[in-house]
């Protein structure tokens, strides 16, 4: 490990450094992910740009319309413990509580979890299912990107030269909507998900009014399970239909075989956990 450590004090300064050094620079927030990547020799930045000295990037707040905004430097632990989040977007607090160990959650940030763009990024499926977007800033100013389109491959995002993620924006959850995130992994929460499933569901009696399903760790990026959603959306729900949707989610997932699990096992578990997630969401 060997790099120059830069501590910009303003967002403009950070953007300018990232623009100048491009691929030679990496952003550090908590560092739990980046330092690991450097140690494992998966990345070798010449410059590490610490954004923790930028002002006002750590907050969880709701506006009058109920839209949630989360600063990029907000720790995973703050999300897990936020009473307001637990009350209004509990699925996100729940997903946060399943990310790594307490000592990692104390340091790791939401912005970092998303920008590292691991296919198993623990907060991604819940945020995608919630329809979240991210606000980024770059040399040309600010823009927002749908989170679903933010991930472009393992470790790859839609961030362009000089761009920095500032805020995660989540629309209000419509009344009567429930959400669940389930994580399947070895060693409890500590290891990354083998399969993660987020389900956001609104029911009218037995009919499924609206549904979003998002999967983690089973494709090159976190993904929506749109075919499974279509099977359930607007329909009267029975066991056979849930089974059909779970199978569809499994079919549209594209997992790989790695040290943690085989692709076949992951596909099977997508089916199982999609079923669990949907059932949990409708009984909650």
């Amino acid at each position: 490990m060997r790099f120059k450590y830069l501590e910009p004090q303003t967002i403009d300064e950070a953007v300018s450094l990232l623009f100048t050094y491009q691929d030679r620079a990496k952003v550090i927030a908590g560092g739990t992910d980046l330092l690991n990547q450097i140690r494992l020799k998966r990345t070798k930045p010449e410059y590490v740009v610490d954004i923790c000295y930028l002002p006002d990037l750590e907050y969880i707040k709701y506006d009058a319309a109920g839209q949630l905004s989360i600063g990029a430097l907000t720790t995973i632990r703050s999300l897990e413990l936020s009473k307001e989040l637990k009350g209004r977007h509990p699925v996100l607090a729940q997903a946060a509580s399943l990310l790594g160990s307490m000592a990692i959650r104390n340091v790791g940030t939401l912005g970092g979890n998303l920008c590292h763009a691991s296919p198993s990024a623990e907060t991604a499926p819940a945020l995608i299912a919630l329809g979240a977007g991210v606000k980024v800033v770059g040399p040309a100013g600010e823009r927002t990107v749908e989170l679903e389109k933010f991930f472009t491959g393992p470790g790859q995002t839609a961030l362009q030269r000089g761009e920095l993620l500032l805020e995660i924006q989540v629309p209000p959850l419509p009344p009567g909507t429930k959400g669940v995130y389930l994580k399947h992994s070895s060693r409890g929460t500590v290891n990354p998900a083998l399969v993660g499933v987020a389900a956001i569901v609104a029911m009218d009696g037995k009919r499924c009014r609206e549904i979003k399903l998002a999967l983690g760790a089973v494709a090159s990026t976190p993904m929506r399970a749109k075919k499974a959603e279509e099977i359930l959306r607007g329909e009267e729900i029975d066991d056979a239909l849930v089974e059909k949707a779970a199978q569809a989610a499994s079919d549209e997932s594209r997992p790989i075989t790695d040290v943690r699990a085989s692709a076949d096992y992951r596909k099977e578990m997508v089916k199982v956990f999609t079923r669990y997630a949907f059932r949990n969401a409708i009984v909650h």
Binding site: F3, Y5, G31, T32, L35, I38, A103, N106, T189, V190
Partner: protein, 159 residues
């Protein structure tokens, strides 16, 4: 190029000259001689390097020492009881034979301290979840959990 920084460790302000990529675990052990903090995996999975920063448990192997400037760092060496002797958690570990090879012990105790500082009313399951990031390769978990449970109970009763 090395640069001089000050770190507040166990209440003492220390001046160290470090490279910016040095982790806190390295600086604690190799610059300050505080070798109670162990480094096991170096990847944030084993928890033996756990220290407290501003009261929160942190894996010091994945934490740049530069980031610890201006913060209060506590290592196992900084723990003590009311009378200056062993901290109740350390006493409980001795009492309940919760130490085998000892490599995980400092990390276990610091993670447990962070948890009990937030509240002593903990079920065994909560304690086990809280210790999820700390590995004991002697597999001595039963004794460790016993020790922490007993200590939590005593602290809760204000003893």
């Amino acid at each position: 190029m090395k640069q001089g920084i000050t770190l507040k460790v166990n209440g003492i302000v220390e001046e160290v000259y470090i490279e910016p990529w040095w982790t806190l675990s390295r600086v604690l052990r190799e610059e300050l001689g505080l070798v109670g903090t162990k480094e096991g995996c170096g990847n944030g999975f084993c928890g033996s390097c756990t220290v407290l920063i501003d009261g929160k448990a942190v894996k010091s192997c994945l934490y740049l020492a530069m980031k610890a400037r201006g913060k209060a760092i506590m290592t196992i060496e900084g723990l003590q009881g009311k009378d200056g002797g062993l901290h109740p958690l350390q006493e409980a570990f001795v009492e309940h034979f919760a130490v085998q090879c000892g490599y995980c012990t400092a990390g276990m105790i610091m993670a447990a301290k962070a948890m009990l500082d937030e509240g002593t009313d903990r079920s065994e399951e909560e304690l086990r979840i809280g210790l999820g990031g700390n590995v004991c390769r002697c597999t001595g978990y039963a004794k460790i959990v016993e020790a922490i449970s007993a200590c939590a109970k005593e602290m809760g009763e204000g003893r």
